[in-house]
């Protein structure tokens, strides 16, 4: 902050040598031009790699592309193939299971930790550091570590046996029915600390006077949380939900590292399905169609959110 004030002072003291108003207006004009020229390359790059590639993929999804993109029109053929593919249906079902549980547990655990940490806890900094370090890790690292922990022979099952719980049985990683839940375990482990940080920031942003007033009125802590604080956290809930949902739909690395989509394709998600069709099975057209479905789902969540956010911010100033 001091450096900020210093530069400001220097700049202001320089106003003494005021050039003519005309020259100043001229500089403002060229400056604004320079600003436009400076952003132009980025805008062009993003126009190509985001918007252009989006349309390109969209176009490929309507063609008979297999091992290489080609441009023979196929109409809705790839979309029909996609929705007739049992693997895609599994992937879609899994994203609902994984996404739903991932958000539910991340929110529940993150919120609990945030509320507890907000009770003037000694060593809050240390605890926060511990809760958040998974966010620094690659999902490949997390997935590989959990794959070892959940190893049916040598992992947590054996640990329980050695600790005396002889008939403890835990084979989710190789069980087609339950393998998808191992993704939830590792995903929540990785992301709940981040959720905690968002909720903690939300809690710290609440006006203390409101809470004091409620307390003077004789409200109990539990009531204060339920009636006052949680409703005030509504915007944080929305942010958390959007981010986690977005993260879930994009989930790719975690599946690759933890289950590789198995056993027996039981843990495919839309993102891994897209990758497998496109780069593994030379079905680029179907891969592109699935990418379009993923993209449209993310857009349906993100665009309204961004729109309302930008509007809100521009209203506030």
């Amino acid at each position: 902050m001091t450096s900020l004030r210093n530069t400001s002072d220097q700049a202001v003291s320089a106003v003494g040598r005021l050039p003519s108003a005309q020259a100043s207006a001229m500089r403002r004009w060229t400056g604004a031009r320079m600003a436009q020229i400076a952003v132009a390359p980025s805008l062009a790059i993003i126009a190509i790699v985001v918007y252009g590639f989006m349309l390109w993929t969209g176009y490929i999804s309507f063609t008979r592309s297999t091992i290489m993109p080609n441009y023979n029109w196929a109409g809705m053929l790839n979309y029909q193939k996609l929705w007739a593919n049992p693997l895609w249906l599994i992937a879609v079902e899994n994203i609902f299971i994984f996404g739903g549980l991932f958000i539910l547990f991340s929110v529940a655990i993150g919120l609990t930790m945030a509320i507890f940490l907000d009770q003037k806890i000694r060593a809050e900094g240390v605890l926060r550091t511990i809760y958040l370090y998974p966010m620094a890790l690659s999902f490949i690292v997390t997935g590989t570590a959990w794959k070892w922990i959940l190893n049916p022979g040598l992992g947590i099952e054996r640990l329980m046996h050695l600790w005396g719980w002889e008939n403890f049985h835990f084979d989710w990683l190789i069980n087609p029915t339950y393998a998808v839940y191992t993704l939830v375990i590792a995903g929540v482990w990785q992301s709940s600390g981040f959720t905690m940080a968002l909720f903690l920031a939300g809690l710290r942003g609440i006006d203390e006077e409101l809470i004091k007033a409620a307390r003077l009125d004789g409200a109990k802590s539990f009531q204060i949380y339920r009636r006052l604080i949680l409703p005030l956290l509504a915007p944080t809930f929305l942010t958390v939900a959007v981010i986690l949902l977005h993260q879930a739909i994009k989930s790719f690395d975690l599946v690759v590292a933890l289950t590789s989509g198995g056993p027996g394709n039981s843990t495919q998600l839309p993102a891994t399905f897209m990758y497998m069709q496109t780069f593994g099975r030379d079905q680029i057209g179907v891969g592109a169609a699935s990418a379009v479905m993923i993209f449209m789902t993310v857009s349906a969540i993100i665009i309204p959110y961004l729109y309302s956010d930008i509007r809100r911010v521009s209203h506030e100033g």
């Binding site: 202001v12 605890l127 511990i130 690659s138 690292v141 794959k147 922990i149």
Partner: protein, 294 residues
């Protein structure tokens, strides 16, 4: 919440509550530390030790052999050359990509906030969308384009990809940082006769150091941890470390050397963990900026 100023009766129930809260927080902490502990312990054992003990038992004989093997001769498919080369690849990819994307971000943030021109907000919104797109939608065209311009399966190709998809993030960081700077800063320098880049270099860059730290940390972590771009656009010796790690773990020739796998996990995680431990505050700020726009 401060409740100091209100005198509360602190009966036994208060202390029961405190014990409960501390107990829960410690259990959570144990859950978060557990995988790291398991991974490190496993990386220090030999295979007999792994088979006779549990994932939490201490090594009978501490050995650094798995670390040596992970670094020098772990097998990626049929090639047993260890992680060293892939570790170097990831640095060769991350350092230029972080530097270039951050430099572009500071210019964009400055241009979009300090020289309010018509359409600046629209341009920002168009760039911002790049933060949220699922990369599946760009993979096929990107693979084609990298092939056409001759950068497929190369570190420069990955640098290019990480720079272009990093621009939305770095622009977001710098734009949001600079929008709260006082406006008279630039107008005063302007009156003084300084031009666009002079003001950027002399006035804006020095006061944006905290934002540089956030941008560099965020970009480094994301690029180091990337899997999908590396897996799609590279193979063989040109792979970044995350892809090599995954291949090492899935290479099945005979007995699985779990200890070497876990040493590889730690080696892959060390650079970003190091960044997190020494600059956690800025790391968190980056996370928040990515989620709370405006």
């Amino acid at each position: 919440m401060k409740d100091d100023d209100i005198v509360l009766a602190r009966g036994p129930s208060f202390y029961v509550g405190r014990v409960f809260i501390y107990g829960c927080l410690l259990v959570f902490a144990a859950v978060y530390v557990f995988p790291l502990l398991v991974v490190v312990l496993t990386s220090l054992k030999d295979l007999d030790d792994i088979r006779s003990g549990s994932i939490l038992s201490l090594p009978v004989r501490v050995t650094l052999q798995p670390w040596y093997d992970a670094w020098f001769n772990a097998c990626v498919g049929l090639r047993c050359t260890g992680l060293a080369g892939f570790f170097a690849n990831s640095f060769a990819m991350a350092i230029p990509a972080v530097a270039i994307s951050t430099a572009i971000g500071v210019i964009n943030g400055y241009a979009l906030t300090q020289w309010r021109f018509r359409g600046a907000d629209l341009i920002f919104a168009l760039l911002l969308f790049g933060v949220f797109i699922p990369y599946q939608i760009v993979l096929i065209p990107m693979a084609r384009v990298l092939g056409i311009i001759g950068l497929a399966n190369s570190i420069p190709g990955l640098i290019l990809v990480h720079v272009v998809f990093g621009i939305p993030f770095t622009t977001l960081f710098f734009r949001n940082f600079m929008i709260s700077l006082p406006g008279d800063l630039v107008s005063a320098a302007r009156v003084d006769g300084a031009g666009f880049f002079q003001i950027l270099w002399r006035v804006i860059v020095p006061i944006s150091i905290p934002c540089f730290v956030v941008s560099i940390i965020w970009q480094f972590t994301n690029i180091w941890n990337d899997y999908i771009f590396g897996a799609t656009f590279t193979s063989g010796d040109g792979m970044p470390i995350t892809i090599a790690l995954n291949n090492i773990v899935n290479t099945s020739t005979g007995v699985k050397p779990y200890n070497v796998h876990m040493a590889s996990v730690v080696i892959t995680a060390l650079p970003t963990l190091f960044v997190y431990i020494f600059a956690g505050r800025y790391f968190l700020r980056g996370l928040m900026a990515g989620s709370v726009k405006g």
